[in-house]
Symmetry: C2
DNA sequence: CATGAACCCTCACGCCACGTCAGAGGCAAA
DNA sequence: TTTGCCTCTGACGTGGCGTGAGGGTTCATG
């Protein structure tokens, strides 16, 4: 039931040389040897190998791995649990990097230039839990935001042009309806609100009527958004919010 | 607006030596130097540094990174997109490793021993998309399963004992009700089904009535589950399913 | 103006985790 | 016995820096 170096190497996806090396430094010596001196790995050796590879994947130096694994006070289950936590942490870190890249892509695709700080932020050493607190709070833990990021990241330049043209068209028509004095609760305004909702669903994330309502509120409560609309026509932000609300209400019956 | 080595190193979370090294091998040479020979990094240099660090994080050798970045046919956006995909792939890989560790923890905590293949599988070289097809299919892409894994991974031995005792109690009472001839649609049986549902919610994942119904079906359709129940009393699996269905129906009105 | 303290420079050697031969032997099937 | 594939033990090489040594630069103080 014991395995040769070659078999173990194939099973574990490491080279024979690596196994030799681990034997040399005493990190993982096979439990047995044949008369001819061939290494024979037992099941226990493979358990240890799994541990070694996991800690290695986590970036520990081999010497330290030996110390960790040879601690007699710590059993396998505890090791696994430690590894699990470290892996989760690594996974979180990776997600941050991915988000940063998505942000960079988005910025680049729209022609915005990020500051060096924004670009390199994710590599910086210690950063406390500022994380994405604002976004989290605002979107209440939905994954619409992550969803959006992921989709946006795959857009080509052409996609962005189409997207912006579409957004501009809806925006202009809303502004026109507003300046023409059409009521926010009227059919034309509500239809435009619906187009706005579909635009978001198509390009960013599934925008339910509830989410759309929240967005409407945001347009008047968040100055950064308000500015965009009110630049086109003062008071437009509020008009848009009302049209969205009316459209959502119409849909609810 | 240019930065010194020290400033860049702090910003990017790398050592000064690393920046010197990148300059030495021609991977990233600062755009300017002061009269005294001090390195001065421009914004463009920082953009390049971001790229370098990303590819490095992805495990590329420095020499290859130079080749990739110096390809004149590929612009920054394309680079970012490539990086994004590689990062996603890495993230998926990491999730697999985490799942494997969770499986190992679970097995260990219950006293089951995994085969070496199962343990080392995740490290093996090429593995096609067998992934978790069965689980995926069965649970229809809900994240109840992942949820469960994550929670289970943090249980101590004591937790497992409590968990098993609780499960055994519910199981025995169900068997007793069945052998006593109590109807599956009766109040006692339905109450037991509800306790069963709460047990799952408490220890594994949020078990809605719908999910619970599916579980009931599973108990009669999957021989591995059927065996567990019918071992206690032949026909118990079907009884449990009916009790679960009745309890769910009761809840729906 | 001198004097630290904090930067920065260029060698140059060291280290870790293997990769990559070389030369020799082991083993099962043909 | 030959053929083909393992496996063994040295031993040197390599990539990506770490870690000094020895010395110049800059700038706010005494």
């Amino acid at each position: 039931m014991s395995l040769s170096v070659g078999q173990v190497s194939r099973l574990a996806g490491v080279t024979v040389r690596t196994l030799h090396h681990y034997d040399e430094i005493g990190l993982l010596s096979p439990g047995e040897r044949t008369a001819a001196g061939y290494r024979r790995y037992t099941d226990d050796d493979l358990v240890r190998l799994q541990q070694v590879l996991l800690y290695r994947e986590l970036g520990f130096p081999l010497e330290e791995i030996a110390v960790i694994l040879d601690d007699p006070r710590v059993d396998e289950l505890t090791q696994l649990r430690r590894q699990h936590e470290l892996l989760i942490r690594k996974s979180d870190r990776l997600r941050e990097v991915i988000t940063a890249v998505e942000r960079a892509i988005e910025a680049r695709a729209r022609g915005i230039t990020l500051t060096p700080e924004e670009r390199l932020e994710v590599f910086g050493a210690f950063r406390p839990e500022d994380h994405d607190a604002e976004t989290e709070r605002r979107w209440g833990g939905t994954d619409a935001y992550a969803d959006s990021r992921r989709r946006v990241a795959s857009y080509t330049k052409a996609d962005w042009l189409a997207l912006k043209a579409e957004a501009a068209a809806v925006g202009e028509e809303l502004a026109a309806a507003y300046t023409a004095g059409l009521p926010a609760g009227g059919e034309p305004a509500m239809d435009l609100a619906e187009r706005h909702r579909l635009h978001i669903s198509r390009w960013f994330y599934t925008c339910t009527y509830d989410i759309h309502r929240c967005l409407g509120e945001l347009y008047v409560s968040d100055p950064r958004f308000t500015a965009v609309y009110d630049e086109a026509a003062p008071g437009l932000a509020g008009y848009v919010r009302d049209a969205i609300a009316a459209n959502a209400a119409r849909h609810d019956h």
